[in-house]
């Protein structure tokens, strides 16, 4: 990403009662500075409703000295006081009597049930360590994945020895947060056919649910959409942690069966699963689909760069807008590029400005 450094602005006037108000004062002032070390520090209580920056609190700002409130995330109470003080720069949220501060931006904090996209960082004896963009690595126990040859099989020592054949370092996967440790670490599982290793597509990381835009929790995090310009169907998987996977849609066995048959269907499915589930080989992806995957990726980065949220509705609208933009000014193979001005145009079209 480019480094943006704005040109210097004129100095802002300082409002500080510590500064001498007029020049004659400072000229005659030969004693030491304008502060008396013996004085206790002044209490700084900003009523955020009356401050010019409504709703923003910064670290060290006292939110309320009233003990009727309870402190939540992003706040602390200094010893020997009852002042709920912010420890983050962000906005205040209130749930009944609980006050918490939502940061302007932070790393992803996992919650049970979140759909996340992660990358294997480390393979241990009985579990994997997965980077999900959180403050700690999540862990995926061997017992929490679908083993080939049937969902209801017991985990054996052979599986432990072959742990790398399922997921190896660097593999991407989609999983769900199953439980949280006391210290905030997450345990994942992939015990559903929706989850598992990711193939046939592209990865993009944006900021996730920690604050500051990016991917937001919504009804649907993964869906299939029609590609334009003769491309096939495209799967989009928005990890709540801000990791996104866009890939060519592969028909799942259940869809192939049409969902009509029962017993035979399941056996078939199991065989299919064992064949492809942990494959590290991509299927053949045709050029049109690849282009549309790249376009979607461009749409996501453009949304993030322009400070818009990323969810299904936004992405669908953005994608159609991008396809239209490409049709209006056809400039050859570059039409999937959505950075800079083109990204701003897209964002403007979406927000209706």
């Amino acid at each position: 990403m480019p480094i943006t450094i704005h040109p210097p602005k004129p100095p802002r006037p300082l409002i500080s009662d510590n500064l001498p108000s007029d020049d004659s004062d400072s000229d005659s002032d030969t004693s030491i500075g304008g502060v008396d070390l013996g004085l206790p520090p002044k209490k700084r209580l900003t009523q955020f409703t009356s401050s010019p920056y409504t709703g923003i609190v910064t670290p060290g700002e006292i939110i309320t000295p009233d003990p009727q409130w309870m402190r939540g995330h992003g706040t602390y109470i200094p010893p020997q006081t009852t002042d709920i003080t912010s420890s983050l720069a962000g906005t205040i949220t209130r749930t009944n009597k609980l006050i918490s501060v939502r940061p302007l931006r932070a790393r992803y904090t996992p919650e049970v049930g979140d759909l996340v996209v992660g990358r294997i960082v480390e393979v241990q004896a009985k579990r994997w360590r997965v980077d999900v963009g959180s403050t700690q690595l999540a862990s995926l126990p061997l017992s929490a994945i679908n083993l080939p040859g049937g969902i209801l099989r017991k985990r054996t020592e052979t599986d432990e020895l072959q742990i790398r054949t399922f997921f190896a370092e660097g593999d991407l996967l989609v999983a769900e947060v199953q439980q949280l440790f006391q210290d905030g670490g997450a345990v994942l599982h992939t015990r559903s056919l929706k989850y598992g290793k990711l193939r046939n597509g592209a990865f993009v990381a944006v900021s996730g649910m920690g604050g500051g835009g990016g991917v937001v929790r919504s009804r649907r995090q993964a869906w299939t959409m029609e590609g334009a310009n003769g491309a096939g169907q495209i799967d989009v998987c928005l990890g709540v942690n801000g990791y996104v996977w866009i890939s060519k849609h592969v028909e799942t066995p259940a869809e192939l069966e049409g969902g009509g048959k029962t017993a035979a269907g399941i056996t078939n499915m199991e065989e299919n699963v064992s064949a492809t589930m942990y494959s590290s080989q991509n299927d053949k992806v045709d050029t049109e689909t690849m282009r549309e995957i790249a376009r979607l990726r461009g749409v996501i980065t453009a949304l993030v760069e322009n400070g818009l949220r990323v969810d299904e509705e936004m992405l669908n609208r953005g994608y159609h807008e991008a396809v239209e933009m490409a049709m209006v000014d056809w400039n050859g193979p570059d039409d999937i590029y959505l950075g800079g001005e083109r990204g701003e145009m897209l964002a403007a079209a979406l927000t209706g400005k």
Partner: protein, 270 residues
């Protein structure tokens, strides 16, 4: 070139035209690098510093074998790791500083310990907060600028902290040798003043009088310490206001742009 301090007593103006208690222009920005967890850019006069914060995040498997495997990662608190790169073009004479330069190492550990005192590291067990500082231009008060930039970047990264750690330098108008008891204290020294006059770097926590960092590297009479410290602590409060303003303006803009939802006030309800 030796600094001419003889004119100070006439007009009470310093070489760059400031009065004793004036800061240089402090310009700062947060979120300069979109890809980083937190980033900042800070200018104190001609001292220019860039900072990038990565983390808190858990470092992957340690390179170099399994002996120390995870021994450092199992700590209850997050570890603050600071890395300072001083660009070769940052000062007047181009000097290459190696990795093992002791002065840089000392500054690294100072910034790391100063941040660790304010950040709520207990919230992130096994993690590491990587602070990477780049010095683009030096004109005095380097350590102060580094601390301020690192604080801003940590605020941007959304790492909970007790309060801002704001730093600035303070000096005294006459040299040590002059043994001038009536010497005035000075605020925020530039390179020229730092070379000639006694100086100290102070960092305080928020706008309290509690000192996190106090570094003095020049000879000075003990009687002058109180005055210098008082001016320094006062300057830190001014710096804190300026840093706070930078963060608020950024937050305000984010709310206007709709990136962040507006918060609820306590008085809005009930």
């Amino acid at each position: 070139m030796p600094l001419d301090t003889s004119t100070y007593s006439l007009a009470l103006l310093r070489v760059d035209g400031r009065r004793w208690n004036e800061l240089r222009r402090l310009h700062a920005q947060i979120r300069t690098q979109a890809a980083a967890d937190g980033s900042s850019y800070l200018e104190m006069g001609h001292t220019k510093v860039m900072c990038v914060v990565t983390g808190p995040s858990e470092p992957g498997p340690r390179r170099g074998g399994g002996i120390g495997g995870g021994a450092g990662g199992q700590s209850k608190d997050a570890e603050v790791v600071v890395n300072i790169v001083i660009a070769g073009f940052s000062s007047v004479d181009r000097k290459r500083r190696g990795r093992g330069d002791k002065r840089t190492q000392e500054m690294q550990s100072t910034v790391a310990n100063a941040l660790a005192a304010s950040l709520h590291t207990h919230l992130f067990p096994h993690s590491q907060i990587n602070v990477s500082l780049h010095v683009l231009s030096q004109d005095g008060s380097l350590l102060a600028a580094l601390i301020n930039a690192a604080t801003l970047a940590c605020v941007d990264a959304g790492i909970p902290m007790t309060d801002y750690v704001a730093a600035c330098t303070a000096g005294s108008t006459s040299t040590y040798a002059a043994n001038d008891e009536s010497a005035d204290p000075l605020l925020d020294l530039n390179h020229q003043e730092e070379q000639e006059l006694p100086s100290l770097t102070v960092a305080t926590l928020g706008d309290s009088d509690r000192v996190v960092v106090l570094v003095c590297e020049s000879r000075v009479q003990i009687s002058r310490l109180e005055g210098m410290l008082a001016v320094g602590v006062d300057g830190c409060k001014q710096v804190r206001e300026l840093l706070d303003r930078v963060v608020r303006e950024k937050g305000q803009r984010m709310i206007l742009e709709g990136t962040v939802e507006k918060g609820t006030g306590l008085n809005d309800l009930d």
